[in-house]
């Protein structure tokens, strides 16, 4: 189920504006890769290019290759809709569908494949996904309430349940905890830890401790200067990045944040 991702020479544009330049990296299967860097250096942009959500923005496009499972997802004959079904995404702000119940929110992705699903199968997907997202105990008695009736942290875990209900190969998370309190944050970090045995996870975070806690590998993005595109400065095992990074700018960024 989990797949590794090979990115080579990726340039990402918004219209004529080159936002991210020349990224090459390998994201290992069944592990957590953290992306860190200052604001505006293109972490979200890069993450969104990993499931072709980038091109949803008018004028946005990508040059280069991203290979999953031997297939370049930017080949002309690849359907972005198929890519997004196998590469799930969790956003910075929890975004359950407000008109759907908790139950239907979890199944939203499965319903898209539009096979008629027997009730028993639907029930078991909902239970399994909510358990997977550590939310089952809290919502099992109110599955028919709207998704927006949950707290922010619960909503975010609902979004994770929705993403894993379709059993993707890769899970992308863009600052999934930045809108949450420390307790919800720690619940989601535990969850990421559990999910890593089944999924390839890429997480963007501004929180150094979080990157250090949850990830195996860390990529540090930075801007070469004002108005210049963002670049991947260094990609190494997390333990190395935080103890003995290759690049002085990585060291400066991390120590600046650690104080």
């Amino acid at each position: 189920m989990a797949k590794s991702i090979d990115v080579s020479d990726l340039d990402i544009y918004y219209g004529d504006f080159l936002a991210v330049e020349g990224v090459s990296m390998t994201i290992r299967a069944r592990s957590v890769t953290a992306l860190i860097g200052p604001s505006g250096c293109g972490k979200s942009t890069f993450l969104r290019s990993l499931n072709r959500m980038h091109e949803v923005i008018p004028g946005a496009r990508v040059d280069g290759k991203i290979v999953i499972d031997g297939q370049n997802m930017y080949d002309a004959d690849v359907d972005p809709v198929q890519v997004r079904r196998s590469v799930g995404m969790v956003f910075q702000r929890p975004n359950p569908f407000p008109t759907m119940s908790i139950y239907e929110n979890v199944l939203a992705g499965n319903r898209l494949n539009s096979k008629r699903m027997p009730k028993s199968e639907a029930d078991s997907i909902v239970e399994k996904s909510l358990k997977g997202a550590n939310l089952w105990e809290e919502v099992k008695n109110r599955l028919n309430k709207p998704g927006s009736s949950l707290s922010g942290g619960q909503q975010q875990r609902l979004c994770i349940a929705r993403a894993i209900a379709v059993e993707p190969q890769v899970l992308l998370m863009d600052e999934p905890c930045s809108a949450l309190d420390p307790i919800s944050t720690s619940a989601i970090e535990d969850l990421i830890h559990d999910l890593k045995s089944d999924y390839t996870i890429v997480i963007v975070t501004h929180n150094m401790q979080q990157a250090a806690r949850v990830s195996e590998d860390t990529g540090f993005f930075n801007l070469a200067g004002a108005g210049k595109p963002g670049r991947l400065v260094e990609m190494n095992p997390t333990s190395k990045i935080f103890s003995n990074p290759d690049e002085p700018s990585t060291e400066a960024y991390i120590s600046g944040r650690f104080g």
Partner: protein, 313 residues
Amino acid sequence: MTVTEAAPKPPAPVRRTGDVVFSGLARAAGITILVALAGVAVFLTIEGFPAVTAPASAMGGKSGIVLYVWPLLFGTLLAALLAMIIATPLAIGVALVISHFAPRKLSRTLGYLIDLLAAVPSVVYGLWGINFLAPRMVGLYEWLEENLGFLPFFTGPASSTGRTILTASLVLAVMALPIITAITREIFAQTPVLHQEAALALGATRWEMIRMTVFPYGRSGMVSATMLGLGRALGETMAVAMVLSATGVISFNLISSTNPSTIAANIALQFGEASGLKVNVLIFSGLVLFVVTFIVNFLGRAIAGRGYKGESR
């Protein structure tokens, strides 16, 4: 600028001249509208009241005001309803193209063109209906009579001029299109990006994304837009008076040359030579139309006001 005269009483809230002036103006405008509306209602009621006891001679031979007004009301509702059945799907489709499918430049042009339809005077629509649309519909009506004649709507005999209630409804549909399109496209365009991206990231196609997020978000807006369009279609006078060849029957036959008339068109056609009680009768029918339109608009607003359940933080 604060109102310093109130200074001795400490808890006096800060009041700014701008706010005071503006709220006064807004209130005055609101009251003016209400007074005008009440004035119209009072006028219609007082002038329409004598019609209740009017003799048959004042009502084209009908022996009671209900018998007189009911066929007109029937025609009004039928024409307006047909117009909505035609216009609503079309308007929603156009609104979606503008908000979600067309490239930005094209969608702006398209938006202007649709808005322009609202600026065309209804006499022009009437002329277009008589001289352009009606003759071109004759062939279709004959086909409908031949092939779908077993349905009560198409029993015929097909009109040879094409000036049927269906043609009138088509003209009404075109006239109601801009208002429905304008409102729905605004609402569609406001669908939170957050939710649209959630759907797309799950692997929804654009159409699936629209069904999952845009339609639920815009549901009440679509309903109220349709109601406002219906209000327009109910009250439309000139175009219907010109296009429809009305005989005052009550019939669901949509393609024949004997058609029910509508209240507004009937007033426009009869008012010129009416006098005495006949005027009161026409005004009474106007009162009925006023009430129906008022109810429709009220429902539309009420549904729109209910808004979007759930938040879009």
